[in-house]
């Protein structure tokens, strides 16, 4: 009951604030870039009182005006939630909440890696690849076929590397064949063309895979069996490792394949950062993403960079697939939801922002875990999983289309 009242308050005054405050600011010739978001947050947190003050004094809006009332809104929501469902595990059991958060973070790292590929493509080519999920699917499929069917006994990590190369090649090939014409003026509406042609690619890859490998779920055994380990000791251990699980503080259990996947993802992130910031090609890529013309003048061939970026982007998706095929069962349509999640992440983080993709991945991971963990009705909790991310997407696009770390639109 309290919860619904609180939600009504938050949404109602949030909308009022989001609509009203920009108008007030515009009328007074003030900077309105943050007004919608700040208005929504202040409205949601403090209702008419805060809004009246804001409209009267019209202070300069910086990030504080978003973060503080934002936090207050979350606090109101949580309080109302706790008051309505005092027996909910998210209220009564801190270990449970912690487990959910840690689980969300672990998965979020991998989501982030995948979204990083998408954001890399966006920052260089200026397009959103709708075929991103299929690269993720292919990455996993390649590892499965390499280690289980074609070369049994091949070390999974070697297969991960090969699968990365293959997804890179597919991405680069597609870029050369279908996306390059965009830059040479052969295509009338580049933006729309890019959406559609990647869409077509997604269709093509998914159904070709289905026709070739069928619908039976595939899975690779976990890459590493961890040694048994307990720190400091078996009793009251802080960290306890068994072949299949990693246990923190006795309470938080993370399956080991996920830890492996997250560690692979973190290593890859490091490699990617090194590549982008320390190598000549990486610097050239970043230069192209900042200013195409200027980069071209300094002798960087933007076409090559495009191919490289699309291949790399596909490869990152493929790598996250390759590291998750030991966690989830793999079918040809496995990429659809993963792709949708990547869209959410890059919008949340800011399109084209690398740190944004990583942070966005963590946030989405945690939100999904908490959503599944905390929504009171057990029937709805999991059924709405795909919607949690989409809700973030829609809200971000409405309130702050540039995302957390985005450049101006």
């Amino acid at each position: 009951m309290y919860l619904w009242l609180a939600l009504l308050w938050i949404i109602g005054w949030g909308v009022v604030g989001a609509v009203l405050i920009p108008r007030v600011y515009a009328r007074r010739d003030l900077d309105v870039s943050q007004a919608a978001l700040a208005g929504a947050m202040v409205g949601a947190a403090s209702g008419p009182f805060g809004l009246a003050l804001l409209a009267y004094f019209t202070p300069r809006l910086d990030w504080k005006w978003v973060v503080v009332p934002g936090a207050a809104t979350v606090a109101i929501f949580l309080t109302a939630f706790a008051a309505t469902y005092p027996n909910n595990l998210c209220v009564s059991n801190s270990a449970f909440v912690l487990t959910q958060v840690v689980n969300g973070l672990v998965v979020g790292i991998i989501y982030g890696l995948m979204a990083l590929g998408l954001t890399l493509i966006f920052s260089i080519l200026g397009i959103v690849s709708f075929a991103h999920g299929e690269f993720y699917m292919l990455g996993g499929m390649f590892v499965y076929y390499l280690t289980q069917e074609w070369f049994p006994g091949l070390h999974p990590l070697a297969a991960v590397v090969v699968s990365a190369v293959l997804t890179f090649v597919i991405g680069a090939l597609f870029e050369v064949l279908f996306l390059r014409p965009m830059n040479t003026g052969q295509v009338e509406r580049p933006g729309e063309y890019a959406i559609l042609v990647t869409f077509g690619l997604s269709f093509f890859l998914q159904y070709t895979t289905l026709a070739l490998v069928g619908a039976n779920p595939k899975k690779v055994p976990r890459y590493f069996d961890y040694p048994r380990l307990a720190i400091p000791g078996e009793e009251g251990s802080l960290l306890k490792v068994t072949p299949g699980t990693v246990r923190l503080f006795e309470e938080i259990v993370i399956p080991s394949p996920r830890v492996t996947a997250a560690v692979i993802a973190l290593i890859l992130l490091g490699l990617l950062m090194w590549f982008l910031y320390r190598t000549w090609i990486g610097k050239a890529l970043r230069a192209v993403s900042q200013d195409r013309q200027a980069a071209a003048v300094t002798g960087i061939n933007p076409n090559v960079m495009n191919t490289l970026a699309f291949g790399l982007g596909g490869m990152l998706a493929g790598l996250s697939g390759a590291s998750l095929v030991q966690v989830f069962s793999w079918v040809p349509w496995v990429g659809t939801q993963a792709a949708a999640r990547s869209f959410v992440i890059i919008v949340l983080g800011g399109m084209g922002s690398l740190p944004g993709a990583f942070v966005g991945g963590l946030i989405v991971g945690v939100v999904e875990a908490l959503g599944a963990g905390c929504v009171p009705d057990p029937h709805r909790a999991a059924a709405y999983i795909p919607a949690y991310g989409m809700l973030i997407l829609v809200l971000v696009l409405l309130l702050k289309p540039t995302g957390l770390f985005g450049r101006e639109l």
Partner: protein, 497 residues
């Protein structure tokens, strides 16, 4: 101009691609056979299309050429249909000769020349349907079809099976039924996996009065609408719930978590099971998830907090594997609490690959327990596993196989393809199948209302057997996994975690 040319070319290409599929090109009549020297870019099917008007008539060319080669060495000998060389002399038969060849060939297969009897089949073969299930059913249909035709077909004519993809979508189910009945003029329809599709398909069958035997649609309402055309050899959802509840009670569980999929199969099944469990004083909590959910970690923590003695998995396909393995990894797998895994676990190779930590899983298997397998079941299982490379036979494959055989038998019994006659034959049938002896005791002569049973038993195969099997060693093939319940079939006691 160039663009228009392109467009016209592409459209023409599409249309040309469609034409041979829509209408088979008529064979040219009256031409005599002749010799032909192979030139560049020839291949047999192309020649067959060109001279015989049928792209699939190439075996006839090979047959006659080889016959001539036996007498006259100047003719080439074709051992591989895909390999002909430039300069080879081959013999292109006249269309009559080609037809004669196919007629004799058909006879050697036990099929008489002439029109075929068409039976329609429904199965989900593309997403969002359960492609896994659909493909298994398809393989079973193929086996049954071959056997039927080898045994001489139906009413002395070969059976033609027209399998239509329903995509798991009710609206596609309607379209598929419309097509089968009005376009293909099938005399009966068999199959289907998804209950949601079954619910709409039965309406079309009823509208046109064509008999349909449902293979794997468990929803009670399918038979409960008392349509004379609708038969079912799959179990009833509510009865399965009853079986599950009995088993759970027998295992001694006090608190059960049901993890179900958010579909026309999962939701009612979970509701019915909950009801049956409550009648037995067992507490049940249901969690539901979208099909295709990958990450269950959030839900699994909640299930853990419920502290159940038993988890019943009503998810299907890869979603069930995802849940079972993740539960095992999080410490509430089958080795920690009792878990009734989904029946897809019966494909043990796939199961162990996807759920390596799934030892001690129970699963329900509809159909006869292996100890009671008849010769037919064993023969089918062998063929099926050979064809699909699987290590077990799913119940829906058995049901698909039986549904087609049942329809063929009924037509033979009826002695005609008249729908009314077939329906009557089905009502009186007593057919030995891989599922056991199939009968439909609650029919127009013995309606459920008079027999004192619920409407859902109408035209329902009542004796569907179901046993519970448990994997007791990691990697165990399902054929070796023991039956643990019911006790009269028990081959080993259950191992409780």
């Amino acid at each position: 101009m160039k663009r228009v040319l392109w467009s016209v070319l592409l459209i023409v290409a599409i249309l040309v691609a469609m034409v041979p599929m829509a209408v088979a090109a008529p064979a040219r009549q009256g031409d005599a056979g002749f010799d032909y020297i192979v030139v560049k870019d020839d291949w047999l099917s192309k020649l067959a299309l060109k001279y015989l008007g049928d792209v699939f008539a190439y075996p006839a060319i090979a047959y006659y050429t080889n016959q001539k080669a036996a007498e006259d060495p100047s003719y080439a000998k074709i051992t591989d249909y895909d390999l002909i060389e430039i300069g080879w002399k081959i013999y292109i038969p006249s269309p009559e000769e080609a037809q004669a060849y196919f007629a004799t060939r058909a006879q050697t297969l036990g099929v008489t020349e002439g029109e075929t009897i068409k039976i329609g089949a429904l199965a989900p073969l593309s997403a969002p349907g359960s492609v896994t299930g659909g493909q298994a059913m398809k393989a079973a249909f193929e086996i049954a079809l071959e056997e039927i035709n080898e045994a001489g077909g139906v009413l002395g004519k070969p059976v033609e099976l027209i399998l239509v993809d329903t995509e798991g979508l009710p609206e596609r189910g309607t379209a598929a039924m419309e097509r089968l009945i009005t376009q293909e003029k099938v005399v009966g329809v068999v199959g289907e996996y998804h209950s949601a599709v079954g619910l709409t398909a039965k309406e079309v069958a009823h509208k046109y009065g064509i008999p349909i035997i449902f293979a794997e649609t468990w929803n009670d309402n399918i038979t409960a609408s008392l349509y004379p055309e609708v038969f079912r050899i799959a179990p009833l959802s509510s009865e399965v719930a009853n079986l599950d509840a009995n088993f759970i009670q027998w295992l001694g569980a006090k608190k059960v978590v049901i993890m179900t999929e958010n579909t026309g199969y999962g939701i009612p099944a979970a509701e019915q099971t909950t009801k049956k469990l409550e009648e037995r004083g067992i507490e049940a909590v249901t969690f539901s998830a979208d099909i295709g959910t990958q990450d269950f970690s959030g839900i699994i923590e909640r299930i853990k907090a419920e502290n159940p003695d038993l988890i019943l998995v009503l998810l299907t396909g890869e979603t069930s594997y995802n849940f079972e393995q993740q539960a095992a990894e999080a410490g509430i797998g089958p080795q920690d609490v009792m878990m009734i895994c989904n029946q897809v676990a019966d494909d043990s190779e796939s199961f162990w690959k996807n759920v390596p930590d799934g030892n001690l899983c129970f699963y329900r298997k509809v159909g006869l327990p292996p100890v009671l397998w008849n010769e037919k079941t064993k023969a089918f299982a062998e063929k099926y596993m050979e064809r699909t490379g699987k290590t077990g036979v799913e119940s829906y494959a058995m049901e698909a196989y039986d549904s087609l055989w049942l329809m063929a038998t009924a037509i033979n019994n009826a002695g005609s393809t008249d729908p009314q006659a077939i329906i009557e034959a089905l009502e009186n049938i007593e057919y030995e199948g891989v599922l056991g002896t199939i009968t439909f005791p609650y029919n127009s002569k013995n309606p459920p209302s008079e027999a004192g049973v619920e409407d859902k038993w109408w035209h329902q195969f009542p004796d569907f057997a179901a046993v519970f099997i448990q994997y007791q060693e990691p990697g165990q093939p399902s054929s070796e996994a023991p039956v643990v319940y019911p006790e009269k079939f028990q081959t080993a006691p259950p191992i409780l975690p």
